[in-house]
């Protein structure tokens, strides 16, 4: 990811940290977004139903696609991401 001769090791650590921070934040947002969309909040029991499970799979996939679309737009606009 754009490591054009960045020799400074502190910088490399910092970039790796931000990369991970970003991935964690993305994952957390995906968890909570798909929870809102897919999970029945009546909590009759502690198991996911068949419908909830397939909703989670599709929701994850669609969320990822939205990430791609927005990333492309931001990249085209100002090169902010990478």
């Amino acid at each position: 990811m754009a490591q054009q001769g960045a020799p400074d090791p502190a910088m490399a650590i910092e970039m790796a940290k931000q990369e991970m921070d970003y991935r964690v934040a993305l994952f957390n947002a995906m968890v909570s977004s798909c929870y809102e969309k897919c999970i029945d909040k009546r909590y009759k029991d502690g198991d996911l139903s068949v419908g909830e499970n397939s909703c989670i799979d599709r929701c994850s996939s669609k969320y990822w696609q939205v990430t791609g679309i927005v990333g492309q737009m931001l990249g085209a606009q100002g090169g902010m991401h990478q």
Binding site: A16, N28, I39, K41, D57, S60
Partner: protein, 103 residues
């Protein structure tokens, strides 16, 4: 390819120890954050009445189901997230190989 491995590869060997410590810190921080958000969510969805100071049996049961469901949900999203990440990773590598910049 494990995404952490990718991050590690970009870092000089002497610094990898430090990065591993950062990862560990982040994992502790993140599991505490997850714990907090789980409590917040299940409290919000399960506790509606404040006529007593102790949870009743229904509320307790609801909190347990909510927490169990959330953990299963989170684990499933984790699996999907891993798959989607490695798909993206290998597409990226293919693209770079085709452009001849992946020597």
């Amino acid at each position: 390819m494990d995404p952490n491995a990718a991050a590690m590869a970009a870092v000089p060997a002497e610094q990898q120890q430090q990065l591993l410590q950062e990862i560990e810190k982040m994992q502790v921080r993140d599991s505490l954050r997850m714990y907090n958000s789980l409590v917040e969510r299940c409290f919000k969805d399960c506790v509606e009445s404040f006529r007593r100071k102790d949870l009743d049996a229904t509320e307790e049961k609801c909190v347990q189901s909510c927490a169990a469901k959330f953990m299963k949900h989170s684990a499933r999203v984790g699996v999907r997230f891993g798959e989607l990440s490695s798909e993206a990773e290998s597409q990226m590598q293919q693209m770079m190989a085709q452009q001849g910049t992946g020597k």
